[in-house]
């Protein structure tokens, strides 16, 4: 993925409304813009705009079927997005797990040294 493609991908899925549109396409397969417009709390024009951005980022493709244009997800591109997100999230999970281990070890050490000081006079 080039940096520019990366940016397009992140901004495409970073917007909550757009994610809602993408979510609906993901769960329902090939759907039309008017079908989508009936299921989201924003205008048909907004749906069309979101679809254009998603298509530009390579996340959805369209095809004509009769008089309708149907949109569907591009699995490879979604897979890329998912993996990139999951990698970043996993990286933070590893860091948080290390923080937990360090803090808990420091706490145990503090408690023990406090304990031995308190016991010392007796």
């Amino acid at each position: 993925m080039t940096a520019q493609a990366d940016d397009e991908l992140w901004s495409a899925i970073g917007d909550p409304s757009r994610r809602q549109v993408l979510d609906l396409i993901v769960s329902n397969g090939a759907v039309s813009a008017s079908w989508l417009a009936g299921r989201v709390p924003f205008s048909r024009q907004a749906v069309a705009k979101h679809l254009a951005v998603l298509a530009e980022a390579g996340l959805v493709t369209s095809r004509k079927q009769g008089r309708e244009v149907l949109y569907q997800v591009v699995a490879d591109r979604l897979d890329q997005a998912t993996r990139a997100m999951a990698q970043l999230a996993a990286q933070w999970d590893r860091r948080l797990a290390t923080i937990k281990r360090l803090a808990e070890a420091a706490h145990t050490e503090n408690t023990e040294s406090r304990g031995s000081k308190e016991e010392a006079p007796s």
């Binding site: 990366d6 940016d7 992140w10 901004s11 899925i13 970073g14 917007d15 909550p16 994610r19 979510d23 993901v26 769960s27 997800v73 699995a75 979604l78 897979d79 997005a81 998912t82 997100m85 999951a86 970043l88 999230a89 933070w92 999970d93 860091r95 948080l96 797990a97 290390t98 923080i99 937990k100 360090l102 803090a103 808990e104 420091a106 706490h107 503090n110």
Partner: protein, 148 residues
């Protein structure tokens, strides 16, 4: 990476002051984050993080002991990190009684930062569960597709 937000949380069996030190003290930070950490705990302070043979500048944004710490990074070399060109990493510590602390980290891109506060809050709230769910859904779908 505009609009990107990652939120992760962990529950730690240690008091908030201990977790705060682990998250913010440079000799601790070098154990869970970068290999070499040059960091001063003051808003606006410029520091540096070295990861193996790569590294980059960081600028501290918020220091509010023992609950909030944030810094910016991943900005273009030679530029000051501002809301428009960098990633913001924010740590939020919440005490759960005397002996436990909930630690949350958020990494977010610049577009979000430029939004009005209310919109940002709404997105952040929605995001807390939304993103995980969204990813899970994608992963499930892709697994099904690969089988089929």
């Amino acid at each position: 990476m505009p609009g990107l937000v990652i939120v992760r949380e962990i529950l730690i069996e240690a008091p908030i002051e201990v977790v705060w030190r682990t998250v913010t003290e440079p000799d601790q930070v070098s154990q869970w984050f970068a290999d070499r950490v040059d960091l001063v705990l003051e808003p606006g302070a410029h520091g540096y993080m070295q990861f193996g043979d790569q590294g980059g500048p960081v600028v501290v944004e918020t220091v509010d002991p023992p609950t909030r710490f944030s810094f910016r990074w991943n900005h273009p070399r030679g530029e000051e990190p501002v809301a428009g060109n960098s990633m913001l990493v924010e740590f939020t510590l919440t005490p759960e009684g005397d002996e436990r602390t909930q630690l949350r980290v958020t990494e977010s891109g610049h577009e979000l930062r430029a939004w009005p506060e209310a919109e940002r809050q709404r997105y952040a709230d929605e995001h807390r569960e939304g993103w995980r769910e969204f990813l899970d859904q994608l992963v499930t779908l892709l697994a099904k597709r690969q089988q089929g």
